[in-house]
Assembly symmetry: C2
Homo-oligomer: 318 residues x 2
C-alpha cells in the first residue's frame, strides 16, 4: 500500500465550471475521503468553497487562465498559468499524486504530456476506458482518443498499457488482448491495423487476434487495442447507441424509462469515473466535459486509487 499525494483537480475544466467541480471536490473529500487540491481562479474557488463551508478542508492553488473547452484550448493550454498547466506541474513536482480534469481531451493530453511527461520508453499516451461487457466484467478500450494517428509500434505499446490497466485496475491477472478491425482473420483491416496486427502477433503477448465491432461489448477480449480516432468514435457511438436504444424502447412502451435507467447508468460517464490517460509518469483521469459534481467526485476517487497502483508506469516498463 503506497501513500499517495492529494488529487489535483482542474477546477476550471468542464462544461459547468467551478460550481460543479468545487462541489465535486467537496463530495470526493467528504464521501470518499480523498484529499484534494483545487487549481483555478482563486477568488471564484474560495467563494464556491465558502458556499460548502469547506474552506479549511480543501487547498486552492491559483491559476489565472482557464483553458477553453474548444480545440483551440489545446494550444492555449500551453500558456503558463492555465489551470491545466499549473495542475500538471503540481503532479510533476510530487505535490499531487494524480490529476483530474473535465476539460477538453486534446488540451488535457497536450498539457499532461508536456507537464507530467511520458513514462520511460512510451512514444505516445493512450486513453483507457473500461466498458461493461455482456459477460459481466469490463473490457478496456485503448486508445479511446489520445492519439488520433498512431504508428503500428505505438499501437503495440497501447496493448501493453492496456494490459497494465486491466491487471492493476480491473484485477484481471491474465488479460487477453484483441485488435479492433473489420474482419476476424489476419490481414483484414486498413493498412495501419494490418501492420499493428503483424507486430502484435510477433510479441510475447496474450493476443487473440482481430476483434470486430460487434464483439467490443461481448467480453471476448479484456483489452481492445485501436487507434485513438477509431477508439473515440467507437466510445461515443456506444454512448449514443445506448441512449437511442433505450429511448426507442421507452417510446414503444416496451418498458418504463425508469426501469431502463439501470442499463443506461452502466454506460454513463458517472459509472466508469472517466477515462484514464496511460503512459505518463503520473496518473491522469479525464472526466466527461458534461460531468456534474458526483461524476467529478468519482473521477477523483478513481484517480486516487489508481495513483497507488500507478498503471501507466508499470505498464510502460513491463
Amino acid at each position: 500500500m503506497t501513500i499517495t499525494g492529494p488529487v489535483v483537480l482542474d477546477a476550471m475544466g468542464g462544461d459547468h465550471g467551478p460550481a460543479e467541480t468545487v462541489a465535486g471536490a467537496v463530495e470526493a473529500r467528504r464521501a470518499h475521503g480523498v484529499p484534494i487540491i483545487l487549481v483555478g481562479a482563486e477568488a471564484q474557488l474560495s467563494r464556491e468553497l465558502r458556499r460548502h463551508e469547506a474552506e479549511g478542508e480543501i487547498a486552492v492553488v491559483p491559476a489565472p487562465h482557464a483553458v477553453p473547452m474548444s480545440e483551440r484550448g489545446a494550444a492555449a493550454a500551453a500558456l503558463t498559468g492555465s489551470s491545466l498547466a499549473v495542475g500538471c506541474d503540481l503532479v510533476h513536482q510530487g505535490v499531487g499524486g494524480s490529476f483530474v480534469s473535465a476539460g477538453s481531451t486534446g488540451a488535457v493530453v497536450t498539457c499532461a504530456v508536456r507537464g507530467i511527461g511520458r513514462a520511460a520508453g512510451v512514444l505516445r499516451p493512450a486513453l483507457a476506458v473500461a466498458l461493461p461487457s455482456l459477460r459481466g466484467g469490463a473490457t478496456v478500450l485503448v486508445d479511446a482518443g489520445a492519439t488520433a494517428d498512431p504508428s503500428p509500434t505505438m499501437m503495440a505499446q497501447f496493448a501493453r498499457l492496456g494490459i497494465g490497466y486491466a491487471r492493476s485496475v480491473l484485477g484481471r491477472p491474465d488479460p487477453i488482448v484483441g485488435l479492433l478491425s473489420i474482419g476476424s482473420e489476419p490481414g483484414k483491416g486498413n493498412r495501419l491495423t494490418c501492420q499493428a496486427e503483424e507486430l502484435l502477433t510477433g510479441l510475447p503477448l496474450p493476443f487473440t487476434g482481430n476483434i470486430e465491432g460487434h464483439e467490443v461489448l461481448s467480453g471476448r477480449a479484456d483489452v481492445i487495442v485501436t487507434d485513438g480516432f477509431t477508439g473515440n468514435v467507437v466510445l461515443k457511438t456506444i454512448e449514443g447507441c445506448v441512449r437511442t436504444v433505450l429511448t426507442m424502447a421507452a417510446r414503444e412502451g416496451a418498458a418504463a424509462p425508469e426501469r431502463l435507467a439501470g442499463v443506461a447508468r452502466r454506460y454513463a460517464p458517472e459509472t466508469h469515473g472517466g477515462a484514464t490517460l496511460l503512459g505518463l509518469r503520473g496518473t491522469v483521469v479525464i472526466a466527461h466535459g458534461s460531468s456534474r459534481a458526483t461524476t467529478i467526485a468519482r473521477a477523483c476517487a478513481v484517480a486516487h486509487a489508481l495513483a497507488g497502483t500507478a498503471p501507466g508506469t508499470e505498464a510502460a516498463t513491463s
Copy 2:
C-alpha cells in the same frame, strides 16, 4: 418508371448456402414479385428449386466455383466461373438488372468492381447502410466497409454517392451531409478526416461539418461520411451494442425480451435489407452473411427497386 432486368442472386454466398438463398429467391419471386436468376452449382440449385416446386419460375445460370466466406475468398473470387464472377458478368452484359450476394463483403466488392465496373469518374466504390435514427427517419452511413483506406478525394465522392442514395432510396430531397470525426469543430480528427473536411468544406454540398459518434443515430445528418474501416467498425459496434443493451435490459427484468424485440428488429439486417454498393455501373446489394431466406428475399426486393433508380450512376454523375 424504368423496367429493369431480373435480380441476379449469388446462390452460393452466405453462411447457410443454397438451402437459404434458393428459399429466399422463391420468397422474393412469390411474395414480392421480383424476377430472379440464380447463379451457382447447377445440380444443387435445381434440387433446391424442386423442393419448392419452383423449377419453372426461376432460371439457373451455372457457376462451378463457390467463393469461400474467408478473406482469401476475395482472391478466389477473381476465378472465372465463381458464382460472384458469373453473376456480376450477367449484370455487366445487361441480362440482369442488379446483383445480390450474402458473400464476404471483400469478395463481392472485388468482383463487382472487376465485373460490373465503376461508374464514370468514381475512384472507389462505397457501401451505404441506412440506419434508423432517433428522429424517425434513416441516416445513410457511407462508406460502411468497401474501401478501408480511401484518400480524402474518395471520401468527398462518398458524400456525393451518399446524397444520391438518400435522394433516390430514402426520398430525402435535400440531404444534409456530416463527416464522422472525434470533435465537432473543424480541424478535429485524424489526418485523413481533417483533409476530407477541408475538401468537403470547399465543395458546393450541404455539408454541416463534423459529426461525433454519439450523433450517428441522432438524425443530425442524413448522410454520414467516413472511411470504410471506421464505417464498418461503427456499423458492427451498433449491431453489438443494440444486442448487448437489450440483453442487459431483459436480464435486469426491465422488460420482457419479446417486448424489446421491436427495437432489436429495427437494427437487424432483415430490416434494412442489406448494404448497397454505390459507385458502380449497376446496383449491387450485399446481404449479411448470416442471412436466412426472408432477409435474402428482402435484399432482392431492395435491389430490384434500386435498379430502377440507379443511385450509383446518378450520384456519380451529379
